[in-house]
């Protein structure tokens, strides 16, 4: 059997792992090592699909003897799928490569565990032998999550006789209302089993037909979100899904920083046995487990140091007297000074924590230096080579990295290439400066690192902490199960290209395609209006268009919006005859007060009618800022809208339209304020619309004093 591992790009782990989380250390191993060792016993060929930079991964696999001629039990191949942001896209990419020949095991995300997959595989193959249509087996964790326990879980409806899956509801929490099941679900069955609090293991055993299904339905993005409901709703096609409960064993996915810490804790707590730190099988490795503490034979732990249960000291590390490690993992070649208190922290290799520091519940990546008497508070993540100054306190929950966080991912994506280059140069400069600072010197080039994050002689830039909108809103790539509260239900998860670090299409290409895309969106939208197509179907059509053209949600939203505005005016000369009936007959005179009122009424009607549709495409405040910028462009009749559209009619009404959008929940106050903030330093001409909205902005700021304060401090 073959296996496909889809490595995810996890925004929450971004400061730690710029490409993908595959090489994050877990109890002395890179994550991918444990994944592969686990799979090795069950499959013969493994394809690791990554969207990020694969160089480091490939190098590691070569070094560890995984890649190349089948030296280990299973042959491992790396597939780089640039720009693939969801499960669906990545699997379509794999299908094009034409490497999957038989039934395969699919792991979505960086998973590790010790559960035996072979019984599930055998059951799947047995079903397939009897019925070719049993195309997929979803693996579930054994047992159910007790109510009140945090974690993703779902509701399943099963046929008790053969474990056929009849319905899967994501994010169904015990006590959160519940789901409505139609009687059709019974079919010819005497009984069905409804289970709450079921946890998906994010492992799927698939027939090759699944890949065909995904390429036929190119709008399928997530397996559990799109494919499963799709297959279940098209029962007449005969495909069936089954579940298999893992009787015992450990399976966990690293998708967030807290999940990462949890997995590290589990590995040290031996839940993933035999993959525990003292069982690497490497003759050079002398890690010993004694009374709940792992200490490597080459590590020097002073007799005055105190190590609590669940701690680990890696190869060549030094722990000085008076240091106290409480459930903390210290990687290789670290130096822990006198009187240091480490609490629930995870230190990667080469970290230096000087005397009398306090570090609690944090992750410190490679080569981090925390100088004496400094404090690192709970929830902090310090990325590679960050330096924290003497006696400085890193505030709780802060993420610090030498690379600058790209805020406002919506800002004209044209700059992307320049950004990339500038970033590399900037990172190199920052690393040089950090090296100098770590050695206690003064860097040659002064960089204005964030003083409040790392202190006057520290090195690092603060990132917006995960959980705040800018990062948290972007859901994990290739995420199978979405968090229940988020707005995006079953649609594609789009991940802005900036985060992915993938190259954007060239500038020219972009503008060439823009016109056509504009027309197509406009036309699709008009057809939807004309044929009274339901919102859901309109979303699907527009989504299809978006994917075909490789656009963002914001792109769709802006063209829908401008089309809506044009629907408030009489049809222009370029309008196709079949849609002319949709446009209002009466001309309005924008200069008169009545004309304005009439226009606003029409806009309001349009907004109300298509509010739900728009919201599907305005997924976060960045998209909304984009919409505002578009509106500006439209009013000024420049850029994409310079020909044949009479956007200038709306120019005087700009603040009113923005207010209407705000009332209809299309624009959040945050987005409007962001937009104004962005334009702050723009030229007089560019600020025209911001100035027009001054009243509205003032009102918004008054209403949300606290949030605006936060904005300022940023």
């Amino acid at each position: 059997m073959q296996a496909v591992v889809l490595l995810g790009q996890h925004p929450a782990l971004l400061p730690l792992a710029p490409s993908d989380g595959a090489l994050l250390p877990v109890g002395g191993y890179p994550t991918i090592e444990l994944t592969l060792r686990w799979l090795e016993s069950a499959v013969s060929e493994i394809y690791v699909v990554t969207a990020g930079q694969a160089d480091a991964l490939t190098a590691y696999l070569q070094r560890a003897g995984w890649a190349g001629p089948a030296r280990r039990g299973a042959a491992v191949h790396v597939v780089v799928a640039p720009g693939c942001t969801t499960e669906g896209e990545a699997l379509r990419f794999v299908e094009q490569k034409d490497v999957i020949k038989s039934d395969f095991v699919l792991l979505s995300g960086s998973l590790l565990g010790n559960a035996d997959l072979r019984p599930a595989m055998a059951a799947h193959l047995a079903r397939r032998a009897a019925d070719r249509q049993a195309i997929m087996t979803l693996l579930l964790h054994g047992g159910t999550l007790p109510p009140g326990e945090p974690g993703d879980c779902c509701l399943t409806v099963l046929d008790p006789l053969n474990q056929q899956l009849l319905r899967l509801e994501q994010g169904a929490r015990t006590g959160s209302g519940g789901a409505t099941l139609g009687t059709h679900i019974m079919g010819e069955r005497n009984s069905v089993v409804v289970r709450l609090g079921v946890r998906l293991a994010n492992i799927y055993i698939c027939a090759p037909e699944v890949l065909v299904l995904l390429s036929d339905n190119f709008d399928y993005q997530s397996l559990t979100g799109d494919l499963v409901p799709g297959v279940l709703s098209e029962q007449e096609l005969g495909s069936t899904l089954f579940v298999h409960e893992l009787a015992r064993g450990y399976v966990e996915r690293i998708s967030t920083a807290s999940a990462y810490s949890g997995v590290v804790e589990d590995v040290v707590g031996r839940w993933a046995y035999p993959w525990v730190p003292d069982n690497s099988g490497d003759p050079q490795d002398l890690c010993r487990f004694n009374r709940g503490v792992y200490v490597d034979g080459t590590a020097a732990v002073a007799s005055g140091a105190r190590l609590s249960k669940g701690s680990m000291v890696g190869r060549g590390s030094i722990v000085e007297a008076g240091a106290c490690l409480e459930r903390s993992i210290v990687g290789a070649e670290c130096h822990i000074g006198r009187g240091v208190a480490l609490q629930g922290s995870c230190l990667h290799s080469g970290v230096r924590v000087d005397d009398n520091c306090r570090v609690s519940s944090t992750v410190l990546a490679e080569q981090v230096v925390v100088r004496s008497h400094a404090r690192v508070e709970t929830g902090v993540i310090l990325a590679k080579r960050v330096v924290v100054d003497t006696a400085h306190c890193v505030p709780a929950g802060m993420h610090v990295s030498l690379a600058q966080h790209r805020t406002g991912s919506s800002v004209a994506s044209d700059d992307e290439l320049e950004w990339q280059e500038a970033d590399d140069a900037q990172l190199a400069a920052a690393e040089a400066a950090a090296a100098a600072l770590a050695a206690g010197g003064i860097p040659e080039a002064a960089l204005n690192f964030d003083e409040h994050a790392v202190g006057p002689f520290g090195a690092g830039y603060a990132w917006a902490a995960a959980g705040s909108d800018s990062v948290g809103a972007q859901l994990p790539l290739l995420a199978g199960n979405q968090s229940p509260g988020s707005e995006c239900d079953s649609e594609a998860e789009e991940f802005t290209k900036e985060v992915l670090g993938a190259e954007e299409p060239g500038l020219e290409e972009q503008s060439q395609g823009a016109d056509q895309f504009n027309r197509e969106v406009a036309e699709t939208f008009l057809r939807c209006v004309k044929e009274r197509i339901s919102h859901d179907n309109a979303v699907i059509e527009l989504n299809g268009l978006k994917i075909a053209e490789d656009r963002t949600f914001a792109d769709c939203a802006r063209y829908i919006f401008t089309t809506m505005l044009s629907l408030c005016l009489p049809a222009g000369p370029a309008t196709r005859p079949e849609y002319r009936s949709l446009f209002p007959e009466g001309k309005v005179d924008p200069s008169s007060k009545e004309g304005c009122m009439e226009l606003l009424r029409r806009i309001n009607a349009q907004l109300r009618a298509w509010k739900a549709l728009m919201q599907r495409f305005l997924r976060n405040s960045d998209d909304q800022v984009e919409l505002l910028l578009t509106f500006e462009e439209y009013c000024e009749e420049e850029g994409d809208f310079s020909s044949g559209e009479n956007g200038s009619v709306f120019a005087p009404l700009f603040p009113q339209v923005v207010k209407l959008c705000y009332d209809q929940d299309l624009l959040s106050e945050e987005a409007i304020l962001d937009w104004a903030h962005e334009k702050e330093h723009a030229g007089e001409e560019d600020r025209r619309f911001v100035d027009m909205c001054a009243d509205l902005l003032a009102w918004l700021e008054d209403a949300e004093e606290e949030s605006s304060e936060e904005e300022d401090s940023e």
Binding site: E40, W271, G281, E377, A396
Partner: protein, 469 residues
């Protein structure tokens, strides 16, 4: 050269399976190791005994490192090295005799070719080697000294060196001369003189085939291990006895079944938490018509008063006569001692290790995953983590307290699931091995000298130094 890489691939593959616990049980590990070493000694690259010893040791240490807890791997390596050393010594002796014959009578007696097989066979079989070669109390001290000298004077083996092949008389010395070899001391002195003139030989080592046969015998021994132990069952299990066993063991099951062919007895099975393999043992015993009673581990002490004999098994037999046994065996042994019930350990001689329990290289326990004791979704497992997360959240809200890290005294649950127990020698009454006789723990040191060469007792001196130093 494809062959060496293919072999090292096999070794690595085997190591990986050991590390990932895909090879279950010490017998499988021992068999795998022995088969790999057989392939190694068969390889044509190893054309001198020194190279062969070095290679066997290197590969053996690699395999042992993959699973340090499995001491049988080291034992098999020592056995194979012992076979090679025996052949070397036999060869040496032959040469000495040869020399002496030459010096004594002045002519080389042509002798029958058949005796070579007989002679080397005599040395290959550990039991037949009651000659002066085998270490004993009376030659223990000088033996060690002379060997050290030998080891230091031996030039490092150079593969493929084109030194002129020393011409040896093709016909070995007659057995009569071997018998009158002049005692151990004389032989040794001779060997010293011999050292000076010894030149590394090119081509194949003459005695390679004997070594391969020896390793084959070892593999055969492993294959027949259960039968060999079970053959003595009737001597140890008497009519109408009550025998207590702990958990599941293939060897014990075999032993009891063989005894049941002749005797009528009763078995009490302790279920052996947390794996509860005793349940399987009881059902299999009952399945073959032996009267079995299943009890929980906690009832072992109470039950012991009615038991006539405890039959246990071991993971490893240590040099001091203690054993490493499945977890729970120690309390059974203690209970047996309290009630003066004989505690019999069945264990193949391949489990005999030269290491002492206080040796830092003996990694005593293998802590398995806690899921055997508590499932991961059990409330007690999730609770500490949930409380910690909640504390963090509360601290974040209160702001002030947030600055001083987590408060002390948060709940913390540690689950330990060890695999082995150490049972000290004073609790063990008898070992029953495949070698055809039982022995007491105090006799174990003798067995060590019987089966292993003194130089191999500690295989990896470097690692030991590192651990101590």
């Amino acid at each position: 050269m494809a062959a060496p890489s293919a072999f090292s691939d096999r070794v690595e593959n085997f190591c990986r399976r050991l590390t990932d616990r895909r090879i279950d049980g010490s017998l499988a590990a021992a068999k795998g190791t022995a088969e790999l070493l057989r392939q190694l000694v068969t390889s044509s690259r190893l054309n001198t005994p020194e190279v062969m010893l070095a290679e066997v040791k290197r590969v053996g240490l690699r395999i042992q490192a993959a699973k340090p807890i499995e001491l049988v791997i080291g034992n098999i390596v020592r056995r194979v090295m012992h076979i090679i050393r025996e052949e070397m010594e036999a060869e040496q002796e032959e040469q000495d005799d040869d020399l002496m014959a030459r010096a004594g009578s002045g002519d080389i007696a042509a002798a029958s070719g058949g005796s070579v097989g007989g002679l080397s066979k005599a040395f290959r079989h550990p039991f037949a080697t009651a000659s002066s070669r085998t270490l004993s109390l009376h030659n223990l001290l000088d033996q060690g000294a002379s060997e050290e000298g030998e080891a230091s004077s031996t030039p490092p083996p150079v593969a493929g060196s084109s030194g002129g092949r020393r011409h040896r008389s093709p016909s070995p010395s007659p057995p009569a001369q071997h018998g009158g070899g002049g005692g151990g001391g004389g032989g040794r002195r001779g060997s010293f003189e011999q050292q000076e003139r010894k030149v590394p030989k090119a081509g194949q080592w003459d005695r390679k085939q004997e070594v391969i046969d020896g390793v084959n015998d070892l593999i055969q021994e492993l294959k027949d291990i259960d039968d060999a132990i079970a053959a003595q069952a009737v001597e140890h299990i008497h009519a109408n006895e009550v025998v207590l066993v702990f958990g599941y063991s293939r060897t014990v099951l075999h032993f009891l079944r063989r005894a049941a062919e002749k005797r009528n007895f009763e078995v009490v099975v302790a279920e052996a938490s947390p794996t509860y393999q005793g349940q399987r043992m009881a059902s299999e015993l009952a399945g073959v018509g032996i009267q079995a009673t299943l009890i929980p581990d906690s009832a072992v002490f109470a039950m012991m008063a009615r038991v006539n004999k405890v039959v246990a098994t071991a993971q490893a037999l240590l040099a001091n006569g203690g054993v490493m046994a499945p977890v729970g065996t120690h309390i059974v042994a203690m209970a047996a001692r309290r009630h003066s019930v004989p505690f019999v350990v069945l264990c193949g001689i391949y489990k005999l290790s030269t290491l002492f329990p206080h040796n830092p290289a003996v990694n005593f326990n293998d802590f398995k995953d806690p899921a055997d004791l508590l499932p991961r979704d059990h409330e007690a497992v999730g609770l500490p983590r949930r409380i910690r997360a909640e504390t963090l959240r509360r601290m974040a809200e209160e702001g002030d307290e947030w600055r001083s890290g987590l408060p002390p005294g948060l709940p913390e649950l540690t689950i330990a699931n060890p695999s082995y127990d150490y049972v000290p020698p004073e609790l063990i009454s008898l070992f029953v091995t495949d070698q055809g006789h039982g022995f007491m723990p105090s006799y174990v040191y003798r067995q060590c000298n019987e089966f292993y060469h003194r130089q191999d007792f500690i295989l990896d001196k470097r690692q030991l130094d590192q651990l101590i130093g």
